[in-house]
Symmetry: C2
Subunit: 348 residues, 2 copies
């Protein structure tokens, strides 16, 4: 409730143009800036154009496709399973089926669960395991930071829609609500998914691997946290088929949960800071400091920069960089940019 003052504007800026109220129409300068660009708009100009390496590589990275990460994962698991299948005689422990064990060993290694029910038994396989665990960690990090996010975002609107079905709210409103509480919803979905995975893992271990309930739960916790003592693990063929899918999703989901908790924490602090900056009294020395072009008046844009800097959203370096470009473009040194300024400045 205390955050209402901060959240409200976030809500209405996403309103469609047809939904503007009179009050908002009066605030011309607020609405005016909607025509300004946003980083996400730029790629349409250059997307898929390999001859412009700057923008193309940037936006591929800013908006990583789930597909790319899925390909990396498939290649990693394929190569891992093949290699460990070829050296299967140099791995000792509880074995079931050759290729399944190799895939299971790859996943237990890449997720750093490391039960120890299958262990390398030669110098070659030990060094291979070292290589696979380092590259696996990097890949899991990539999945946790990128692809899972993409999947969760796809699901969250569906989930919220289902939850709100009886309230008869439109999809525009749902979208807006999801937008303002993004991290909260992502956290909720991941928590829900983790809960399902824990239940499913426990039931499976009780029914298929014949563990008692506490042992099954202990094995589940030991696995999703990547602890993997190895006193309880998947020893049957059916168990390992299940484990191949379950270990990967379980460990990634828990890592994702921790990431979202950290994200939510940062967001809450950031919101508190924004609120503090916006509610504190403006003094005369603030006005003086905010007067960027030293013309004795503080215009809207100057005030925005001053406050955003105070919130820590932009730094002096950011401002200086753009100011340098401004001064290069402002050929007539008038303190304002005109069409003739930019024509002159950019023709040379």
């Amino acid at each position: 409730m205390a955050n209402n003052g901060v959240k409200e504007p976030l809500l209405w800026v996403s309103l469609d143009a047809t939904q503007k109220t009179e009050q908002q129409l009066n605030k011309r300068s607020l609405l005016r800036f909607r025509s300004a660009p946003h980083a996400e708009i730029v790629p349409t100009e250059t997307n898929g154009n390999e001859s412009i390496p700057h923008s193309a590589s940037i936006f591929q990275n800013l908006h990583p496709s789930f597909k790319r990460v899925a390909i990396y994962l498939a290649v990693y698991l394929g190569v891992g399973a093949l290699i460990f299948y070829l050296v299967r005689n140099q791995i000792k422990g509880q074995k079931t089926d050759g290729i399944l064990d190799a895939l299971y060993f790859t996943i237990v290694t890449m997720t750093t669960v490391g039960y120890g029910d299958l262990v390398p038994n030669s110098h070659l396989t030990k060094l291979l395991a070292c290589a696979f665990v380092f590259s696996g960690m990097a890949l899991i990090g990539l999945i946790v930071s990128k692809a899972a996010d993409y999947l969760v975002e796809k699901q969250e609107i569906l989930l919220v829609k289902a939850m709100r079905m009886h309230q008869k709210v439109g999809s525009t409103e749902i979208l807006r609500e999801v937008e303002t509480n993004k991290t909260r919803y992502k956290l909720f979905i991941v928590f829900f998914l983790l809960f399902i995975l824990i239940i499913a893992g426990t039931i499976f271990l009780v029914t298929v691997e014949k563990l008692d309930v506490i042992d099954a739960f202990y094995c589940v916790c030991s696995t999703i946290t990547t602890l993997g003592y190895g006193d309880q693990s998947f020893s049957t063929q059916a168990g390992r088929i299940f484990a191949v899918f379950w270990i990967l999703t379980g460990t990634i989901t828990l890592a994702q949960l921790f990431l979202y908790i950290a994200e939510l924490n940062t967001e809450i602090r950031q919101k508190e800071l924004v609120k503090w900056v916006l509610t504190r009294k403006v003094t005369n020395s603030d006005l003086e400091a905010a007067d960027l072009d030293v013309d004795g008046t503080v215009r809207a844009a100057e005030f925005v920069i001053y406050k955003l800097k105070e919130m820590g959203k932009i730094s002096q370096e950011d401002i200086s960089l753009v100011m340098q470009e401004f001064e290069q473009l402002d050929v007539d040194d008038s303190g304002t940019l005109s069409t003739s300024d930019i024509t002159l400045a950019q023709s040379s």
Copy 2:
């Protein structure tokens, strides 16, 4: 070399006032904004003042002390060692000394290494291990994201200083260089530290635990990645004393390395985007869109906001929030803030 255009300004904005060159003095508007506040300056007003909950809690979190995290860690390890010492008869495996084993088991669990050389042997200890691994993961996450950063920052200047000793550059210049390449230096230090830890661990395992070199290296990799198959672990009393310190630093250092690689990656992409935004041609439609207060001219501050938005550093929501405050403060609706505006607006 290609980044020079971007890096240069970052360098000179951190120059001391006494070092200003004539060229820079001419750029009055660039220097003018140095009096504007920065989020980091604010805490001096409110620090330690518990009666202002907003700012106090915010800045304690923004600048977390290493001390606080160290206390958490000490409490966690103390409680863990005590509890697992009390239930030591319900833990089976290779034992050495009661309290040392309990501490070793706590660390092997919290870091999710989970060798399995000591495993819980009762329902109580299994559930305790579950509780300790979840809370341990959260704590390790906190350490990786906060405290290690603090320690590395303390060390980096010393290291750079040592490396540059023969070049006779002043400490001001070193500070500036460290600032502009912060993540690179942090990455370098963590990489260096990890290298030392790997060497130290391998030598220790060869000399004290009598492993051959490949096995020792394999055990080191298996440990710092938290894989912990458990076929090789620390079985002697001396080994476990070493392990208590080495496992904790090793796993945290590797996690930190991955975090810095991700950070550096993000920074490089961000710099490319900044460069692209700053070097692309400014068009007339840009000028029109940048004119925040719709008065037909684009002033420096408006240009800065437009470009920072294009770089993705600020969003429409950020701008709208501050614009709302501006319009509340601009009582006479003149488009500029004056002393009388803020006096009138804030007295009501």
